[in-house]
């Protein structure tokens, strides 16, 4: 009986914290998605899409739509990683970017925001500048190997939106990234 009460109490606290953090995050740029969290694509930019919009992306059937959504999920969930205080596109990063290029060759009409991020070390301004270089260089890599007129924009968050919140190399490595967000 007592333990049930305390579980209920703990749940109430969690609900309260969740409510508070939901309130305090209004208008904040959406946190980057990572991992398989089953996000609903398109929801962030205004609910279900009408047929005309799908056709504009070159999608003409339910099967093609399912294929697109699956590929879009993989596209958004895979980040490009960088070394400490660096924005050189490494060999593993090229592999990931080549997959992005393949996706964009198939769906050249989709708009993409490339976010540049950094680990928590160093100052705010330098990290925004560093994240800008990461996003910019990832963008240039894609543009240089794709002749179509892509809708790519970049934004740097510096160290302001970490994907992992730990204070160790494992977390820092996850945070030194270019993250891709689709807008369709």
């Amino acid at each position: 009986m007592k333990s049930k009460q305390s579980i209920f109490f703990v749940l109430m606290i969690f609900a309260f914290i969740a409510a508070i953090s939901a309130c305090s995050q209004k208008n904040v740029p959406p946190p980057p998605s990572f991992g398989a969290q089953g996000q609903e694509y398109g929801a962030a930019t205004g609910g279900p899409m009408d047929d005309a919009k799908w056709r504009e992306l070159g999608i003409n059937s339910e099967a093609e739509k399912r294929e697109f959504l699956e590929k879009a999920k993989a596209f958004e969930n895979e980040d490009v990683y960088f070394d400490y205080d660096a924005y050189t596109i490494t060999e593993p990063a090229k592999k990931v970017l080549d997959e992005k290029i393949a996706f964009l060759k198939r769906y050249p009409r989709v708009a993409v925001t490339i976010e540049g991020h950094c680990d928590e070390r160093g100052t705010t301004e330098y990290n925004i500048a560093l994240g800008e270089r990461r996003a910019h260089d990832a963008q240039q890599y894609i543009l240089s190997s794709n002749s179509s007129n892509l809708k790519l924009t970049t934004v740097s968050y510096g160290k302001e939106r970490p994907a992992a919140v730990g204070h160790d190399e494992a977390s820092w490595a996850k945070n030194r990234r270019a993250h891709f967000v689709l807008n369709y």
Binding site: S24, T123, E125, A129
Partner: protein, 446 residues
């Protein structure tokens, strides 16, 4: 928030004042000389600050409160060392105010070089404050008797004004007691701009955008704060009038718009932009007109964090063109750039001192970040802090102190230290985390 009180100063000896000090007050003048030579040689001057004398039985609790504020101001100045009141022999309410009534010998025995004596009179919603500064060894009043009058709720600013006058009389230069410190306050992932008085009192929230606001920078006239915000999705530079709270876009070019730094004496700002693909430092008007691209960028290098020299003819900034971030100086007149820092491989956040003699910055040593100062010619590089994460130094307008952000007491907060690294104290006491301070210029006084 314009002037809430009037400063009426009886100016009797204004011109001859410094000469008098050097002739008559040998002890004080020797301290003056040391102050000018080197911050590490500061010998603080002992000063007695008894409770203020109330001239009417209203608001008697202010007798102690105002004395506390004055003592704290003088202590923060780094010039004075207020004595412990417990050693004082006289009852502050019966003790006199004029030179003829001051027991100089008693104060001398108690170790005081100076005595700050004040009285106040409250009438309804207004207050009049009178202040005298006495030189104990010289057995006379220093400078002139000061008088301040205004609304009762502005009493704190009047005490700050007397502290400013004491600094002016003893050192020849005003204090920083009417200045503000802007900073970034974060709760969760939301960051807003705040500012508070130089002593940490009266925190005021400036932005309410529920976004990420960063890098506050005061305008030279202390009326505007430029800052960076993501409220429109990407980092853009905005300005806000701190009196009306109305904000406006300064620089909203494609890409990154960050690191605003108001140019001293001019209505222009340096900002770091990436609008042309590469990063560079630009000079813009407060409405975002590009006045000049400085051309400090080098290929794909990073260029960020400009900080102006006091004459506005040079700025220090961060570039990684050597392969890692270092401080450089750009000369606006000649168009020449020169690398300043060579120790370590991560030196960022330069801040040029208001007298031009130092550039403070944050440098990485192993896993720690510390505050360093270096002369603009590259000599005398040395650390002021040790361990922890100490970042984003910004000078006080008199160059005696440095505000910076630090996690040495756990969560990130703004701290203040003298420019020799001593006297460190915590400015911000809010919950959440505080970072990226910027110390305002002084307000002009009539």
């Amino acid at each position: 928030m314009s002037q809430q009180f009037i400063i009426k100063t009886v100016r009797i000896l204004s011109v001859l004042f410094l000469a008098l000090i050097s002739l008559g007050f040998a002890k004080a003048s020797s301290a003056l000389v040391e102050l000018e030579i080197s911050p590490s040689a500061i010998q603080r001057i002992p000063i007695a600050v008894p409770d203020f004398k109330y001239m009417s039985p209203e608001q008697t609790q202010l007798a102690r409160e105002m004395s506390d504020v004055l003592s704290n101001d003088l202590n923060i100045s780094g010039v004075f060392r207020p004595l412990d009141r417990k050693g004082f022999l006289e009852d502050p309410q019966s003790m006199g105010l004029e030179a003829s009534e001051i027991k100089f010998q008693d104060w001398s025995r108690q170790g005081a070089d100076f005595l700050a004596r004040c009285s106040y009179q409250v009438q309804g919603n207004s207050i009049k404050l009178d202040g005298w500064l006495f030189d104990i060894a010289g057995r006379k009043m220093v400078g002139t008797h000061k008088s301040y009058a205004g609304e009762l709720r502005a009493w704190r600013q009047m005490v700050h004004a007397f502290a400013d006058d004491i600094m002016l009389m003893v050192t020849g230069e005003r204090g920083v007691f009417d200045t503000k410190i802007a900073y970034v306050q974060s709760v969760g992932s939301v960051k807003e701009i705040f500012y508070c008085d130089f002593d940490g009192n009266n925190p005021v929230q400036v932005t309410r955008d529920n976004s990420i606001a960063l890098s506050p920078s005061w305008s030279p006239d202390q009326t505007q704060i430029a800052f960076v915000s993501y409220k429109d999705g990407s980092p853009k530079v905005y300005g806000v009038n701190v009196h009306s709270n109305s904000s406006y876009l300064i620089s909203g070019f494609p890409g990154m718009n960050i690191a605003p730094a108001w140019r001293p004496g001019r209505n222009e700002l340096a900002v770091a932009l990436s609008k042309d693909g590469g990063q560079d430092i630009y000079l813009v008007s407060p409405t975002g007109q590009i006045i000049r691209k400085f051309g400090v960028g080098f290929g794909a290098s990073i260029s960020v964090s400009p900080s102006w020299s006091p004459d506005g003819q040079k700025f220090a900034y961060v570039s990684n063109e050597s392969g890692n971030p270092q401080i450089y100086i750009f000369d606006v007149t000649t168009g020449q750039k020169k690398r300043l820092t060579f120790n370590g491989n991560y030196n960022v956040s330069p801040s040029w001192s208001p007298k031009g003699d130092w550039i403070a910055y944050s440098g990485r040593e192993g896993g720690a970040f510390n505050i360093f100062i270096i002369s603009p010619n590259g000599s005398d590089n040395h650390a002021l802090t040790y361990g922890a994460r100490n970042e984003s130094p910004r000078w006080s307008p008199d160059g005696r102190s440095i505000a910076y952000s630090s996690n040495k007491q756990g969560g990130a907060a703004i701290r203040i230290m003298y420019s020799n690294g001593t006297g460190d104290w915590q400015l911000t006491r809010q919950s959440g985390a505080q970072e990226l301070p910027d110390w305002s210029p002084r307000r002009n006084r009539q």
